[in-house]
C-alpha cells in the first residue's frame, strides 16, 4: 500500500522532472536546486531528525565531495567514476570523524560539527598543489547543448533525492531508526536497553554524510568550477538544517517540504532582495523556533491531502 507521504513525494518528483518540457530555464534551475536541497535535508534528517543530533557538518561533506570529484576529474577520471570516488571518500571520512565527534552531546556536538566546515575550507585553500588553493579548480564540462545538460543534471539530482528518500524510509522502518529515536529521547536509557549508542550514532552520521558527498561532486561537475569559499559555506550548513526543521525534522516528507518551500521562496521571491538574504535566513530560524517547532508537516497539510484523496476514491467507486 502506498502511504500518503509517498504519493505526495511521487507527484512532486513528477512535477520536478517534467519542468524542462514546459518551463523556462530558470525554473529548471530552481527544480535542480529543489532536488539538491531535498537530498541534503533528507540526509541531514537521519542524524538531526531521527537521532536528535543537530549536525552542522553538511557543508563540510558537500565540499569534500566537490573536491574529491573535481580533483579526480582534473586528473583524468571519468565524471561518473569521480562521483563514485567522492561518495566512497566521504563515507569513509565521515565514519572516522563520527567516531571522534559523537563523543560530544548537544550544543558541543553542533559546534564540533560546524568546525569541520572551517577546517576543511582551510585545508582546501592551503593544499594548493592538489586543490589549486584559493584559485580554485576548473572542471571539464559536458559539451552538450545547455538544455540537455540541464535536463541531465536535473535527472541526476532527482535520482539522489529519490535515493535519500528511500534511505529515510529504510531507516525509519528498521531497528536502526527505532534505536535512533530511543537515543533522541533518552540516550542513557537507550544504552541500558542494549543499544550500542556509539555505533548507532556513527552509522547515522555516516549515512547523513555520504550522499552529501555525491551531491557535492555532481554539483561541481554541473558548475564547472569550484573554490574553497564557495564549497565550504557555513550558510549552506545552516540552510539545510533550517529546511529540515521548517518542513518537519524526524519525518520522511518533512525535509522535502522544507527544502522545496525554502528554495522556491529563495529562487523566486528573494532573488529580488539579495542583500537581505542572510537577514531573512535569521528571521526564519527564529520563526521556526517560536512558531513551528514541529515543522510545516505538523500543520495538518498531510491530513487535508489524505481526506481529499479518500474523497476522490469514494467518488470513483460511486
Amino acid at each position: 500500500m502506498l502511504k500518503t507521504a509517498n504519493i505526495i513525494f511521487i507527484l512532486w518528483v513528477t512535477v520536478l522532472i517534467t519542468t524542462p518540457l514546459y518551463a523556462e530555464n530558470y525554473i529548471v534551475r530552481a527544480a535542480i536546486m529543489v532536488a539538491m536541497f531535498s537530498s541534503l535535508a533528507l540526509s541531514w534528517n537521519i542524524i538531526g531528525g531521527y537521532a536528535g543530533y543537530p549536525s552542522l557538518a553538511t557543508a563540510a561533506f558537500v565540499g569534500l565531495g566537490s573536491y574529491v570529484g573535481a580533483v579526480s576529474q582534473v586528473n583524468g577520471v571519468t565524471m561518473l567514476f569521480s562521483w563514485v570516488l567522492a561518495t566512497i571518500s566521504v563515507g569513509v571520512v565521515s565514519s572516522l570523524l563520527g567516531v571522534l565527534l559523537l563523543r560530544l552531546r548537544g550544543h558541543y556536538f553542533a559546534i564540533g560539527s560546524i568546525v569541520l566546515v572551517e577546517l576543511f575550507r582551510l585545508i582546501a585553500s592551503s593544499w594548493s598543489s592538489v586543490t589549486g588553493g584559493g584559485n580554485g579548480l576548473n572542471i571539464p564540462i559536458l559539451r552538450w547543448d545547455p538544455s540537455t545538460v540541464a535536463s541531465f543534471f536535473l535527472s541526476v539530482m532527482i535520482l539522489l533525492m529519490i535515493l535519500t528518500y528511500m534511505m529515510n524510509i529504510f531507516v525509519s522502518n528498521n531497528r536502526l531508526g527505532f534505536g535512533l529515536k530511543c537515543i533522541k529521547q533518552n540516550e542513557d536509557a537507550a544504552n541500558m536497553v542494549g543499544i550500542n549508542t556509539t555505533l548507532y550514532k556513527v552509522i547515522a552520521f555516516m549515512l547523513s554524510a555520504t550522499l552529501c558527498g555525491t551531491v557535492g561532486a555532481v554539483y561541481a561537475s554541473w558548475s564547472g568550477y569550484i573554490d574553497p569559499t564557495e564549497s565550504f559555506q557555513i550558510v549552506l550548513t545552516l540552510k539545510v538544517a533550517v529546511m529540515a526543521m521548517l518542513g518537519g525534522a524526524g519525518t520522511i516528507l518533512g525535509p522535502v517540504i522544507g527544502a522545496s518551500t525554502f528554495v522556491v521562496l529563495e529562487e523566486i521571491v528573494w532573488v529580488n532582495f539579495l542583500d537581505w538574504n542572510r537577514a531573512i535566513l535569521g528571521i526564519l530560524i527564529v520563526m521556526i523556533i517560536f512558531f513551528l517547532p514541529n515543522g510545516i508537516i505538523k500543520l495538518g497539510i498531510l491530513r487535508i491531502f489524505k481526506e481529499k484523496l479518500n474523497q476522490k476514491f469514494k467518488d470513483n467507486i460511486k
Binding site: F178, Q185, N186, A189, M192, G194
Partner: protein
C-alpha cells in the same frame, strides 16, 4: 546445588577521593532474591552501576556465568541479561508504553523485526498490568505506572539478573503491595533479583538473603533474621528501636 549466576570479587569504585564502593565480594545464585540495604550514600547505586557497565570498577572483578565481564559497556550488560531499573525512572517519554517495552525486546533480546518486538511487548505490558495504557506516551503515566513500565521494559530484555533500584520509592502502600506481588511473580520465572530498598518490611518479605553496605563496604551478609540481629547493622543503619520492632513483627 543451585548454580552461581553472578560473582563480585573485591569490587571497588572511587570518585576522586570518595571510595563509593570498596572491597565488595558477593555471590548471587539462580532464582534468588537478595536485598541490598544501607544508608543513603553507602554505595548501593554505584554497585549496580559497576555491575551494569555504567561505571568501570577501579579494582576487582565482575564475573557473570564464569565469564569476566568487568570491562563491559552498558549495552553489552543489557544484551547479556544484566538488567536494572533506575532509581529515577528513565522512559522514552514520547514513545508509547508499548514501544518503550518493545525497545527492550528489540535490542537486548536481539529480536529482529519490529512487529515481533511489539507483540512481545504486549505480553510484558499485560504481565505488569498496564495494558490499558499501552498506546499512550510514557510521559503521561503516573509515577506508579512508570515504575511498572520500567519493570516491563526490563522484563522484555529477558534478564538473567534484575537489579531493582528503589522501585517502591514514592509509591503508596496499596501500590507497594501490587509491586511486591509483581516482584514475586518475576522471581518465579527463575530470574535472580537484587532489590535495593529502604522499606524494611518489603526487604523482610521478599529477600532470601540480605547484604548491607556502609560507607561502600559490605558490613554484613546473611538471612533476614540474622541481619536484623546483627549489632553492626543495627548501629550503622537500623537503629535499636526499629530493629526490635522488626523482630517482634517477625515473631508475630
Amino acid at each position: 546445588m543451585t548454580s552461581t549466576v553472578l560473582e563480585l570479587h573485591s569490587l571497588a569504585r572511587s570518585f576522586g577521593g570518595i571510595k563509593a564502593v570498596q572491597d565488595v565480594s558477593f555471590t548471587l545464585r539462580k532464582g534468588e532474591i537478595v536485598g541490598l540495604i544501607g544508608p543513603n550514600g553507602s554505595g548501593k547505586t554505584t554497585l549496580v552501576n559497576c555491575i551494569t557497565g555504567v561505571h568501570k570498577p577501579t579494582a576487582g572483578k565482575v564475573v557473570f556465568y564464569g565469564e569476566d565481564v568487568t570491562k563491559q559497556k552498558p549495552h553489552q550488560a543489557a544484551q547479556r541479561g544484566l538488567c536494572r531499573t533506575f532509581q529515577i525512572v528513565q522512559p522514552f517519554p514520547e514513545m508509547t508504553v508499548r514501544e518503550n517495552v518493545a525497545a527492550g525486546a528489540l535490542f537486548a533480546q536481539k529480536i529482529n523485526s519490529l512487529s515481533k518486538a511489539l507483540d512481545k511487548a504486549d505480553e510484558y505490558v499485560n504481565f505488569v498490568g498496564i495494558h490499558e495504557m499501552a498506546d499512550i506516551p510514557a510521559a503521561s503515566l503516573t509515577l506508579a505506572n512508570r515504575k511498572k513500565l520500567e519493570l516491563a521494559k526490563s522484563l522484555a530484555m529477558d534478564p538473567k539478573v534484575l537489579m531493582l533500584d528503589e522501585v517502591n520509592a514514592g509509591l503508596n502502600s496499596g501500590e507497594i503491595i501490587g509491586a511486591l506481588n509483581l516482584i514475586k511473580k518475576i522471581s518465579q520465572k527463575g530470574i535472580s533479583i537484587i532489590i535495593i530498598e529502604h522499606l524494611m518490611k518489603v526487604i523482610m518479605t521478599l529477600s532470601e538473603r540480605i547484604i548491607v553496605l556502609h560507607n561502600g563496604e559490605l558490613i554484613a551478609e546473611g538471612l533476614p533474621t540474622e541481619i536484623i540481629n546483627n549489632p553492626q547493622v543495627i548501629k550503622a543503619y537500623l537503629g535499636e528501636k526499629f530493629a526490635k520492632r522488626l523482630m517482634e513483627e517477625k515473631n508475630d
